[in-house]
Amino acid sequence: MTETSNRPLLEVVGLEKLFPIKSGLLGRPGAVVRAVDGVSFELREGETLGIVGESGCGKSTTARLVMHLIEPTAGAIRLEGRVVGSPELPLRSYLAKVQMVFQDSYASLNPRMTVEDSIAFGPTVHGISKPDAVRRARALLDRVGLEPRRFAGRYPHELSGGQRQRINIARALALQPRILILDESVSALDKSVEAQVLNLLLDLKAEFGLSFIFISHDLEVVRFMSTRVLVMYLGRVAEIGPTEAIYAGSRHPYTSALMGSILSMDPDHPTSEAPISGDPPNPIDPPSGCRFHTRCTLAEPVCSATAPPLHVVGGGHAAACHAATPGSGHSRSPGRAA
């Protein structure tokens, strides 16, 4: 990992979200779901941070927490060193700088609004006059490859999934953000359309100087898009590092198992690692210690006893695994000198 800039654009520190499960007649909170449990990462200017993991690992909750769509139980988010929600960076000005594109292109557009009104809504909220906002909406439609004359006056149900997702991208860009969170934004599209939208995203990123948080379960797409990759497991960061380090030299058995689930395109090097089996454990009652130990091939007593810290294993590459942490007590743990 080369040091691109000293100060990260976005810092997420110890983000935590517990969902209480109401039980009993009076709705007394009983168990809690630890959806996101102490997630920290940074996003640097101009990079794409991919977030991968199985369903229910907290990827989308993390995205919604970063967007402040749900309030975090604990943790802080800083944009360019300023804490979100503090007087120096009120939530509203933060939200103009960070925008999100949702997975479901249809549900994320108001069915009663024309395309241009949907795109122009954000800017009008931030004090831009309606005619100016509409002008901006049409310019953006043109930029995302939809002819304004034909598409601005349409309603969402008249458009295809790919067209709608382009509109959602235009809507997110209408506030002129610095960061775009793409939460499974291309997952629902056909492969050919997906490729077009991905290329559009890369073009827009270069043109508008954006940074992406790219959430997907599609490992190949994440590899194609991302500068760095964050692997989540059951609400925690399992591993984070430069894309190639994660894909070629993962240090966490979960990452290795995920990578093993990618089908090999090369008959001389068939998929070798045994793909992971079973479902993730219930997040209401997560396993003790390392949360992956119930499914891990390298599990040892230390794994169920203590939770491994995120340990730096190389330039910008860190893994939360006892087998990668010196002095952890794991038999595969590297020596002190490592």
Binding site: D104, S108, N110, P111, F121, P148, R154, Y155, N168
Partner: protein
């Protein structure tokens, strides 16, 4: 500014799609039953508005010599009532109060019920609990009983009957408003609007209301018939409109003594109530299916 380059073609006139409501109207027009109901309602409203010009006689002026004439009597095509007043004129004039009693409580309840239901649905949490549990208390009473109890407590009279009917219709409307709002609130486009930093009221105004008012309004329309019947019932019990005002429910009440001598005459106000309420119900059904657009 990054979007400064506004090319001329961006400002060309748009190809506009028909909006949601014009699509609904197009679908509605193809439904003969619903259109028939709409025509009947329009005619009833016109009849109410033009009552003084349409009625052949003074609806208040009776003639003791011409009491309870059967329909078809010379000069009194629908006969005369127990005080010798022209039935046709009274039925025409009765449309005014009867429609007012049917529509006004529902409109008022739509305003209050929507405010309660949409707030409860959108904000959720403790506000939802407080509002909806309060509504549930009102729900516990059968609507007829509640209307009678309230009218009885407030005293007879048109205005008091309107108030009590409004109170009766607020809970069901609030509950429908709450459920449709809750469904809309969790949709991604509301999340996206929140993510743009819009204040709650702006989101409700621009994104929520456009998606919930239609269903709430249609539900309200279906209550118009109920309201008319309840209002007639209140008048019948002497709790609503007072004599000698012509109102269909009240006419039904005062004519019931002539049930055995002039059954056809007695049935006329009931027939008007029936026609009006069934028209509103058919209109509602038609609107509901016209609005059920599969995108």
């Amino acid at each position: 500014m990054m979007l400064g380059r506004v090319e001329p073609k961006i400002l060309e006139p748009l190809e506009r799609s028909p909006g949601y409501w014009s699509t609904v109207w197009r679908r509605f027009r193809r439904d003969p039953v619903a259109m028939g109901a709409l025509v009947v309602i329009v005619l009833l409203v016109l009849m109410a508005l033009l009552a003084p010009y349409l009625a052949p006689h003074d609806p208040y002026k009776g003639m003791a010599l011409r009491r309870l004439r059967p329909p078809g009597t010379d000069g009194y095509p629908l006969g005369t009532d127990e005080l010798g007043r022209d039935m046709l004129s009274r039925l025409i004039h009765g449309a005014r109060l009867s429609l007012v009693m049917g529509v006004t409580p529902v409109l008022l309840a739509l305003v209050f019920g929507s405010v309660i239901g949409v707030s409860a649905g959108y904000f959720g949490g403790w506000l939802n609990t407080v509002l909806m549990r309060t509504i549930d208390v009102l729900f516990a009473f059968p609507s007829v009983l509640l209307a009678i109890a309230l009218s009885g407590a407030l005293g007879a009279g048109t205005f008091n009957a309107l108030v009590s009917l409004t109170v009766v219709f607020i809970p069901p409307i609030a509950r429908v408003a709450e459920s449709v709002t809750t469904a809309v609130r969790t949709r991604d486009f509301v999340e996206a609007a929140r993510a743009s930093g819009a204040p709650a009221l702006t989101i409700i105004r621009k994104h929520v209301l456009s998606n919930v008012l239609g269903p709430i309004f249609v539900y309200g329309m279906s209550l118009v018939a109920v309201s008319m019947i309840l209002a007639s019932g209140l008048s019948f019990l002497g709790l609503g409109v007072k004599p000698p005002e012509p109102e269909w429910g009240l006419m039904l009440n005062t004519l019931r003594t002539a049930m055995y001598t002039q059954p056809l005459l007695c049935a006329l106000p009931g027939l008007m109530i029936f026609i009006t309420s069934i028209s509103f119900n058919l209109l509602t059904d038609g609107l509901r299916s016209a609005m059920d657009i599969k995108a």
